[in-house]
Amino acid sequence: MVEEIGTTTDGDLIINVGPQHPATHGVLHLVITLNGETIKKVEPHLGYIHRSIEKMCESLSYRQFIYVTSRMDYLSSHINNHGCALCVEKGLQIEVPARAKVIRILMDELTRIASHELWWGAMAMDLGAFTPFFHAFRERETINDIMEETCGARLTMNYMVPGGVMLDIHPNFRQRVHDFIRLFKSKVHEYEEMVTGNIIFQNRMKGVGLLSAEDAISFGCTGPTARGSGVSCDVRKYYPYDGYEQLAFDEVLETAGDSFARYMVRIRELHQSIRIIEQLIDNIPEGDFQAKTKAVLKLPKGEFYQRVETARGEFGVYIVSEGGTTPYRIKFRSPGFSNLSALDHMARGSKLGDLVAMMGTLDLVIPDIDR
């Protein structure tokens, strides 16, 4: 890998995919060295949407910085906020009320379903089928409506706060989640019919973008990307937070390590998320939705790390506190950044069309990569 950089012989085609390109879902810029249709090297150029959120957070208080994290992985904004809230709570040693914990998990899992559904549609669109995109939005809009009713926004909610959640759930919440589960179960077989079983899809994805388990760990891949390679890495299982340890759900694992395995992991995770929601939706305990906290939060001197499982993988919040009201240094370990670093390794030797399938199954969200 090292030697090949800079030694492209004549006759290779170097093309820029992005920053404006239909397949990059944002402003990712890939410089691709091609030999005919075969990819010899993929070099990501990042930073087109880098806002230096880590630097911004250094001047924001512990209540304020959470909203910024919604803008990182905007498809799992609840889960990002959750991670930040948990990290602050860890520093303050606040006990979150049971009701808040359940609401948080419900929101996390709904977010995960919404994110996976958007990914499903977008990935099908990458492979040239436009219709699944619109069908996926039908279910996703239902989740967004639920979110809007309870949190007041559809994408960047800022609902999790240190100590619990900002507002209690809406009275309609339970009913609408039940409606959603019914809708989802009546429509999910269409996903199989239109995409999973389709012979063209299978041929496009099987054996494409192979990533071995060792490489997945070495590249720091997490989430469905790593689980598609057989790496058991679900944070909800190994470092449970907010009561995931009491829930019955399976960590989805596939061993093939190709695009189709990553695809299947996400499709099966949809069902696991529904399973978690079904366990909790009728068992939301009564009580406070937010713990009593001081008006101004001050974390004690020290370092705090909290990881959560977003739809894309392991999201880590690392806060270094000097005892003030603002973090001294904050680091967000974003799953997309590490997942993207494996793209070059996966793509070498495959066709240009495969690259799109790989990017689709890596589920890249560019603001998450750039931060």
Binding site: T38, G207, K351
Partner: protein
């Protein structure tokens, strides 16, 4: 890492080839065609069932469009019929705001007893900086501000987005401290 593995040989459709090539060949073709027909049936269903259409014709359905009451559109300051609001000018919202969206200009009013009392002169709200994070509404001790359901904020001049939330001549409601 330098090996360029031959993807095309690995990507053959269902399962490994068995020895009886011809039967497998026919079966491959059959299952391939079947999987395509299943997809065609699904899209054909939607082509013929127009009641499944989910399009909302947005500007036309303004009348029937119901936004949930918690929807975060912009910060407003409710005034009652006497043109009174509940803002004491404590600047809790200003401090809570992560983007310096709110700027409170205070003045000193004379109470009937002749004492000086702090009150708001202008509650300046920069909609163009607001991220609708709801932290100011949560921070307000007197519930003087809330989120409105408006969402069509486009204007031709950026200056119009800077708003003064307290109405002219309004004063603080009796009994709000």
């Amino acid at each position: 890492m330098n090996d360029i593995h031959d993807i095309s040989s690995a990507s053959k459709a269902p399962g490994p080839r068995k020895a009886s090539g011809f039967i497998t060949y026919i079966r491959d073709v059959f299952y391939a065609v079947k999987s395509l027909l299943v997809g065609l049936r699904r899209t054909g269903y939607y082509f013929t069932h127009h009641k499944e259409i989910i399009t909302q014709q947005y500007p036309d359905n303004r009348e029937t469009l119901n936004l949930p009451e918690r929807f975060k559109g912009e910060v407003v300051m409710p005034h009652d019929e006497n043109n009174e609001h509940a803002c004491t000018g404590c600047t809790a919202c200003e401090l809570a705001c992560p983007n310096a969206t709110i700027k409170i200009v205070t003045k000193f009013d004379l109470t009937p007893e002749g004492k000086k009392k702090k009150a708001i002169d202008k509650f300046v709200y920069h909609l163009e900086l607001c991220t609708m994070c709801n932290l100011c509404v949560v921070a307000c001790p007197t519930d003087a501000i809330k989120m409105a359901q408006t969402f069509e904020h486009s204007v031709f001049d950026r200056g119009q987005l800077t708003k003064i939330l307290n109405k002219p001549g309004s004063k603080i409601r009796e009994g709000v401290e």
